[in-house]
């Protein structure tokens, strides 16, 4: 069964990438490549990574590149909204880019697109 195989391949793939997120710092902008799965475990890692860079490196713009994000649930969405709320009084912003189509519905249901900017970009790196 192709489906089952795909699911397990994804799982193995996700495990290897979700632990360490690729990131790039550019002046006061943090680019994070959020690959794999964003759930209660990886969302708290994401939260810590972003907060450390806001608090210690003066980051004010966070861009989450979601090209290779396979899965997100309420814990992931909550951490994104939480970073928005943290950046707001600092005059900063958070942006999501290249959200894959299969995640549109959950994004829509969460109400996040009404609050946070979603963009589409040519993939680089």
């Amino acid at each position: 069964m192709g489906d089952v195989e795909d699911i397990f391949n994804n799982y193995v793939l996700d495990r290897s990438v979700s632990q360490k997120m690729r990131k790039r710092l550019e002046r006061h902008t943090l680019h994070l490549y959020v690959d794999g799965e964003l759930d209660m475990k990886t969302a708290s890692q994401l939260k810590n990574m972003i907060d450390i860079d806001i608090d210690r490196k003066g980051i004010r713009t966070v861009i989450l590149h979601m090209d290779n994000l396979h899965f997100i649930d309420s814990s992931g969405l909550g951490v994104i909204l939480g970073r928005y709320k943290k950046l707001l009084p600092l005059g900063g912003q958070i942006r999501l880019t290249n959200v894959p189509p299969h995640l549109y519905r959950i994004m829509e249901l969460s109400g996040l697109p009404k609050i946070i900017e979603f963009t589409q970009e040519e993939t680089a790196l």
Binding site: D3, Y11, D39, M40, K41, D73, S75, H102, I106, L109
Partner: protein, 145 residues
């Protein structure tokens, strides 16, 4: 449809949320559910199991969560059971944006409700919570992906 059931008992560790949702979606894949419905099942299971760990057990990692999967007739029934603190007011807990944690959005039950065909919550304070979710198996479209 041949009936089938799987029961998984696991420690309340964050990494087990992944295993729980993969198991449920793998069972869904064997029923030839379309890929978008497998994604929905993954979210629903992730929400219920995360709730057990985060709220039921206050993030302690030495507790037990049970996932029950059952295929019968035209349904895939998924139960997530914890013996944690329980929910004081289920109706209020299931409302959109309600959360007892100010850092959370109160989306979990909304996703479970939106992504599954049926959702029932039983809970009693001090003895635990059982979430029962049903996905209908529509065999008109055996492989619509």
């Amino acid at each position: 449809m041949k009936s089938n059931r799987i029961s998984l008992t696991f420690s309340s560790l964050p990494q087990n949320v992944t295993i729980a949702r993969m198991l449920a979606s793998t069972m869904g894949a064997q029923l030839d559910l379309p890929v978008n419905e497998l994604e929905e099942i993954k979210v629903a299971v992730s929400e219920a199991v995360s709730n057990s760990i985060i709220h039921g057990y206050g993030n302690s990692t030495d507790k037990i969560v049970t996932l029950e999967l059952e295929v019968s007739e035209d349904n895939l029934t998924i139960q997530v059971i914890d013996s944690g603190c329980g929910i004081k007011d289920i109706k209020q807990a299931m409302q959109a944006s309600f959360s007892t944690d100010p850092e959370r959005m109160g989306l979990g039950f909304i996703f479970m409700q939106s992504f599954m065909d049926d959702l029932q919550v039983e809970s009693s304070l001090g003895s635990g919570t059982k979430v029962t979710m049903v996905k209908r198996i529509n065999r008109q479209h055996p492989s619509s992906h």
